[in-house]
Symmetry: C2
């Protein structure tokens, strides 16, 4: 650590364009271009309505002054701006990071800005951050809700804020949602484990208040039922968070607690990586003694100590399509047909459960 200079006091932060003439607004531009402010606004928003030479003059003035339009003023006047909110459960999770990448890419192309917000799976924090998004008068919100968010989203919509649920199923028909069929995915995973002869299966999951965890449990049970096993045959271990660390601890508890299962299905790859670590440390052979499956197929699943079998979700596409739907609704609220897009997940077989 080293201290640098301290020129701040000497040269206080002060607004001013290249020509040091105070903040440059639309009217400074107008003055320089010998034009009225209204015309400058037209150049910015409806260039086709202004004569080519006038436009050129204005554009030159804009460049000369280094003018940048004031987004707050636009938003205030127009009632809505070019900003959307993205609320995820945990940006540190590669699943959401990849979704965010899709969102950002799509927005960047359309001139929208993304306000990132993480609920950290806490309803209070979700609430607080939603308030912040509302204050920012975002045009729309992409949200992976912590719990069922039907009511909250309706309130948003009443305020003129479009919303698309991300990786979450719509509970009402007038909502947009983009999701992947988690029940089917988990069914796929557990069916695969059973097909390769697993007698007992354990489910390592995050809090069941998280829809993804609950749905994947349902899928796991469905697969068991289809194989003629009772739902109770699924041993469950609930980890407090969906991180490798929590997964490792969950697996340690599982191992301490009697006979290990033939197979373990994890609610996501992060948990699975922790579980894998615990198994290997305990000298358990994977997949020899215990087969293991994750969920999400994050990039690192393939590179794990024992490459993880997993359920692939189109993460980047999820982000892009959700954004597309949201912006479509924003640009054309009347003619927008709400729709629920449901992707089908895909089984990816690797060594952890070949």
């Amino acid at each position: 650590m080293s201290d640098g200079g301290r020129s701040a006091a000497a040269r206080p932060l002060s607004p001013g364009g290249r020509h040091a003439g105070g903040p440059v607004g639309i009217k400074q531009v107008a003055q320089l271009a010998r034009v009225s402010p209204g015309t400058v606004s037209n150049v910015l928003n409806r260039p086709e309505r202004v004569a080519p030479d006038t436009r050129a003059r204005v554009e030159q003035a804009i460049r000369d002054l280094g003018f940048v339009r004031n987004g707050s003023a636009s938003t205030l006047r127009a009632g809505q701006g070019r900003t959307i909110g993205l609320m995820v459960l945990d940006i540190g999770n590669p699943f959401f990071a990849e979704v965010a990448r899709g969102v950002e890419d799509e927005c960047s192309g359309r001139g929208y800005a993304v306000i990132l917000s993480s609920s950290a799976a806490s309803p209070e924090r979700e609430e607080r951050n939603m308030l912040m998004l509302a204050e920012q008068r975002v045009r729309g919100v992409l949200i992976t809700p912590v719990d069922d968010a039907g009511g909250r989203l309706d309130r948003l919509r009443e305020r003129g804020v479009a919303a698309v649920m991300l990786d979450h199923i719509a509970t009402q028909p007038h909502q947009c949602a983009v999701a992947v069929d988690d029940v089917a995915g988990a069914d796929l995973a557990v069916a695969h484990l059973l097909a390769r002869g697993a007698g007992t299966v354990a489910y390592v999951t995050g809090p069941l208040s998280i829809r993804q965890c609950a749905d994947r449990r349902a899928g796991a049970r469905r697969a068991l039922a289809a194989a003629g096993r009772p739902a109770a045959a699924l041993r469950e271990v609930v980890a407090p968070t969906m991180t490798p660390r929590a997964g490792q601890q969950a697996a340690e508890r599982l191992l301490a607690d009697g006979q290990p299962p033939d197979a373990i299905f994890c609610a996501n790859d992060l948990l699975a990586m922790g579980v894998l670590r615990a198994l290997l440390l305990a000298g358990v052979d994977v997949p020899g003694d215990v087969a293991l499956m994750g969920y999400d197929d994050i990039e690192f699943a393939a590179a794990a100590a024992v490459p993880l079998s997993s359920i692939r979700q189109p993460m980047y596409q999820l982000g892009r399509i959700a954004t597309e739907m949201l912006l479509d609704e924003c640009d054309n609220p009347a003619g927008h047909a709400h729709q629920q897009v449901m992707f089908q997940p895909e089984l990816v077989v690797r060594e952890s459960a070949p």
Copy 2:
């Protein structure tokens, strides 16, 4: 995929609070609370200056009407809002995802919003997104610049936007920066490889226009020099992007190109995981035939097929501290001493280079 209802046309998005009385602004609240708009503003911004009972009345009205302050109007009036910009190279990279988590946590606590922006290591896109941030009148910017950004940041500062460079060294004394010593880190890594007897070392890197890649090369050379080897002894393979896929291809080229080196040092863990994959597929034993080191120590490095030795960086802390510095400057521009914080990285030894 399935289509849902289409109630949008029937019930167009229309603003309106719970009482359906048009958009609720400060004056609706004022009216209901039998108070002037100015007083409502005071309740919001300087609660201590307003009498307790008046305040209670106003707060009740705010709740009744479901009023949310209009951030655009605040920002317009105040000239600056409670929003900062975060520009990273790639949000899909766990390094930046973790940094972003730190930034978001710190901001969330202080009531700031984060606008996420990714330059995808492209100067044009960085430029475009910076313009967008400028339009949003962000209070400050956290940026990992694509190339040297000294000039651009100065222009920002002239406009009253504070800036802190993230994972980048300040080139001028009146800039804030938070970084980790990449030269020292790479030195550590390569010195470790040499100490365990590597004769030949290769460096798999991303584009050298990225400072991190260039600095880590410098560190690698420094370690070689310290061991009495010429800089030319470092075989270099440049991957076009810093992803596992690119790393894998780079390693394939390296293997195809004559005798494999005794050790490979990668500019980050993502590349290293790709390299590891290529090595294992080619039947190369790690670390027996080739030792391997990554950089960043992302969470997944420890879980890799052969757990990766790496250089640990305090990613989350990087984000938090940079944000802290930025917000300090925002809240108190005059008394702010610019500083460059440089963290020292840490060698983490695992099986890939024990």
